[in-house]
């Protein structure tokens, strides 16, 4: 454990004022000032390159603009239109189902895999496993589209081929409304599992060995240990993975766009796809922005809910 050496009397000898006061209050003030200073780079960057554009987007949602002609102010017309737009409503329900399935599958699998990998196994083996799960995250979506279109092909694809060997009839992965969302979930989880896994292994690695060993010595059974020790200790990490998982899943775009383009019908059309199509394909920038604003509000609510939920059980040491 490293601890810095005392740095001499310089700080204390200066004239007292509110910020340098050698008291608890002065210390709190110094810390608060430090907090603001530390936030400057991040706040500046986000204000200029994200929050500002968000307000521009919000403003755009009140206009009708096709990129080519000058924008025309139409008030909340875009919003009243989207409430009646069946494609938009379908895309929100698709996305909700998608997020629920994806996040629960991804978190469960990643947690189980992280626990398994953290067992007492050779280091190189642990590295190899982790690398294996991380590889899909490194590949480009365009390439994944080609590979997955082949893997999931109904007639000549390897997945149906191996399912067929165990007697399961061929599944229309890409061309059936009932199945296609599952296909997108599987592709997405396949690609992003490594992310959640690395977060969980990080969290588990950070966890106290003492607690684990104590539990071992006490002979707590696997499941009991998981439930009473590991999960509570891991809860900040789980919250993190859940929040990030939900947010990125809500923004799903690449996988359905390149694999099914939202079809068949609208059964795999997601919210960001609809935003993209409205704004760029149909040149309705205002309408697209309005849908984006709604998505933004939904994500805000969901995240607020997750944090509220977290207060009830996340355990910080």
């Amino acid at each position: 454990m490293q601890v810095a050496k005392p740095t001499g009397p310089g700080l204390l000898k200066r004239p007292y004022n509110w910020i340098q006061e050698d008291s608890l209050a002065g210390m709190a003030r110094r810390k608060a000032l430090m907090g603001y200073i530390f936030l400057v780079p991040t706040m500046f960057g986000l204000m200029v390159f994200t929050v500002g554009p968000v307000f521009v987007s919000f403003a755009l949602s009140l206009f009708s603009w096709n990129v080519i002609d000058p924008p025309e102010f139409i008030g909340v017309e875009n919003y009243s239109r989207l409430l009646k737009d069946e494609v938009v409503i379908t895309s929100f329900s698709n996305t909700a189902i998608f997020v629920f399935l994806t996040v629960s599958l991804q978190m469960t699998l990643a947690l189980l895999l992280a626990l398994a990998i953290q067992q007492k196994i050779a280091r190189w083996l642990r590295y190899t496993y982790r690398t294996a799960f991380f590889i899909p995250l490194l590949t480009s979506s365009a390439a994944i589209a080609i590979v997955m279109a082949y893997m999931f092909n109904k007639d000549f694809g390897p997945i149906n081929y191996y399912l067929g060997m165990v007697g399961i009839p061929r599944v229309s992965w890409l061309s059936s409304s009932q199945v296609v969302l599952i296909t997108i979930v599987l592709t997405y989880v396949w690609q992003h599992l490594g992310f959640t896994l690395i977060v969980f292994t990080g969290g588990l690695g950070n966890m106290s060995k003492d607690v684990q060993e104590a539990a071992d010595v006490d002979g707590a059974s696997g499941l009991r240990r998981l439930w009473h020790i590991t999960l509570p200790m891991l809860s900040p990490t789980i919250l993190f993975a859940a929040v990030v998982g939900v947010i990125s899943a809500l923004q799903i775009f690449d996988q359905p766009y390149v694999l099914t383009r939202g079809g068949p019908g609208d059964s795999s059309r997601t919210v960001v796809m609809v935003i993209f199509e409205a704004a760029f394909k149909n040149l309705q920038i205002g309408y697209g922005s309005a849908i984006a604003v709604i998505l933004f509000l939904v994500i805000l609510l969901v995240t607020a809910f997750q944090f509220w939920l977290s207060k009830r059980w996340v355990f910080y040491q």
Binding site: N66, V67, I68, A142, A145, I146, A149, Y150, N153, K154, D155, F156, Y161, G164, R170, S172, L174, S175, S176, S177, V258, L259, T260, R261, G262, G263, P264, G265, D266, F276, E277, F280, K281, N282, L283, I285
Partner: protein
């Protein structure tokens, strides 16, 4: 010199003024760059000589004069293109001769990766929305009316009229159907450089093994059906081994060709008036140019037309009987792989597939091409490609020079090497071109135009993006048997009507 390169608005008046200013400056010799002046002088000379040899100038009521100097020094042309038709080496090969003619000019290609043309336009429009518009954009039929109708591109009429002598040999070499597809409301927006008609590609190995080694281009839908049915193979467990036919759910080359041969179409078709100046100037003696107009108008949807229903029922039947798989949406990479690995006997494709199958590792004797089978007629569909001159282009004169440069035989030889598309100039289709890639029956590509003068472009109004989304959506539902064919077409019609009623 500044006045020369800032012709922002492209109007005749502007043009004349700029040309005048350019001429004045040129005589002053202030910025006298001899090399820059030369090519323009040459253009002026050829225009003059054409007048002398008595070329027809009838309909051309207004002829703009060429600017004396086209500024090229320090100028950059940005060209958005679909995917990348040229490797770095071949791209440089078409740019270099151009830069020789226009010293100091820089030409930058912006390759844009896209699934299909609609996706490509989306990205070009995103660039436009972000204020980063290219000077020239490669645009296919699918987007011609988006770019023309929304005022993103400017008509080429004045330029074409001005340089008609130079262009005469080009138009003589290009079928009028292709030119007409590039027109919008009487004006020409692109010089077609390539096209792809929806022909039938056949896997000769699969068909030969099943005893069909002599399919003629003069075949019917019924014969097609028989062949497709007979070559389809399944193993004992029902696992398909070979499909007789496969297609992709998209606008070009989806099931639209079946509509065409059955006398249907997704949209009503009519010809816009105008364009006579072009036909009279360049196609006076060509019988194929009779009754042409000023471009196509696709005004009303007619998705649930009985001929369309019949066509959809036919392709649906193929899938139901296991002759064809349920079509996928998308780019066709797997189709290319399946065809090349002898899992598919026949599919719709155009000249671009000659190069594509070669790249997929298929021997040039293992496949061939036939015309699309006859039903009520043998009317094919095609899509053509050219460059549009963007309204935001800063140096339009230079951009136009590049546009002409791109359709010369020399340039086409370079960038159509490897047969990744069909040349629009018929003189470029010859045995030598197809000796490496195949197919044996390469004549079919241009015969499609010559022998079926009613062959027409795919319907592509300015709303083509929305139209395509609706079209593929209900096609997908019908083909997956999640909606009866009739109901799917009715719903398609209803959605299309909503889009087109907004106008």
């Amino acid at each position: 010199m500044d006045t020369n390169n800032n012709s922002k608005g492209y109007s005749r008046r502007n043009f004349l003024r700029i040309a005048g200013a350019g001429a004045t400056l040129a005589t002053l010799g202030a910025c006298g760059d001899a090399a820059t002046a030369t090519p323009t002088a040459k253009v002026a000379a050829t225009t003059a000589s054409s007048g002398a040899t008595g070329q027809t100038t009838t309909a051309a009521s207004t002829v703009i004069s060429a600017p004396a100097v086209i500024k090229s020094e320090g100028e950059t042309l940005k060209i958005a293109l679909y995917g990348s038709r040229e490797s770095a080496a071949t791209r440089a090969a078409i740019v270099d001769p151009f830069v020789k003619k226009f010293p100091g000019a820089k030409v930058e290609y912006i390759p844009i990766q896209a699934i299909d043309w609609s996706d490509f336009f989306t990205k070009v429009l995103a660039m436009k929305a972000a204020g980063n518009t290219p000077d020239l954009t490669i645009v296919a039929t699918e987007g011609t009316q988006i770019f023309a109708g929304k005022g993103l591109a400017v008509p080429l009429d004045d330029y074409v009229k001005r340089d008609k002598a130079e262009l005469a040999s080009y138009f003589k070499d290009v079928h009028p159907s292709l030119v007409e597809a590039m027109m919008y409301e009487g004006s020409l927006y692109e010089l077609p450089s390539e096209f792809n008609a929806a022909n039938m590609f056949i896997n000769t190995k699969v068909l030969g093994e099943a005893g069909f080694s002599d399919i003629s281009s003069d075949w019917t839908r019924d014969q097609f059906y028989e062949i497709a049915k007979k070559v389809t193979k399944k193993d004992a467990s029902g696992q398909p081994q070979v499909f007789g036919y496969q297609w992709i759910n998209r606008l070009w080359g989806g099931w639209l060709p079946w509509m065409f041969v059955n006398g249907g179409n997704l949209m009503t078709e009519e010809r816009a008036p105008g364009g006579q100046w072009l036909w009279e100037t360049f196609y006076k003696d060509d019988p194929a140019a009779k009754n042409r107009g000023g471009g196509w108008r696709w005004l009303q949807p007619k998705a649930n037309d009985p001929a369309n229903l019949e066509a959809l029922n036919f392709v649906h039947q193929l899938t139901k009987e296991g002759i064809a798989p349920v079509p996928e949406l998308g780019g066709g990479d797997t189709l290319q792989g399946f065809f090349a690995s002898n899992k598919v006997a026949m599919t719709i494709a155009g000249g671009f597939w000659a190069g594509g199958l070669k790249n997929a590792g298929m021997a040039n004797t293992a496949f061939d091409v036939r015309m699309f089978p006859k039903w009520k007629s043998q009317r094919h569909q095609f899509g053509a490609v050219g460059y549009v001159l963007m309204k935001d282009a800063k140096n339009k004169d230079l951009a136009w020079e590049f546009l002409k440069h791109a359709v010369t035989i020399e340039s086409a030889q370079i960038y159509l090497k490897g047969n990744i598309s069909t040349p629009a100039r018929r003189s470029l289709l010859n045995a030598e071109r197809y000796s490496v890639t195949g197919p044996k029956n390469w004549q079919v590509f241009y015969d499609t135009m010559e022998k079926n003068p009613d062959t027409a472009p795919i319907p592509a109004p300015a709303e083509a993006n929305q139209m395509t989304t609706i079209f593929t959506k209900y096609t997908g539902l019908a083909m997956a048997s999640e909606m009866p064919t009739k109901a799917a077409l009715d719903a398609m019609q209803k959605d299309l009507e909503a889009v087109f009623a907004k106008k």
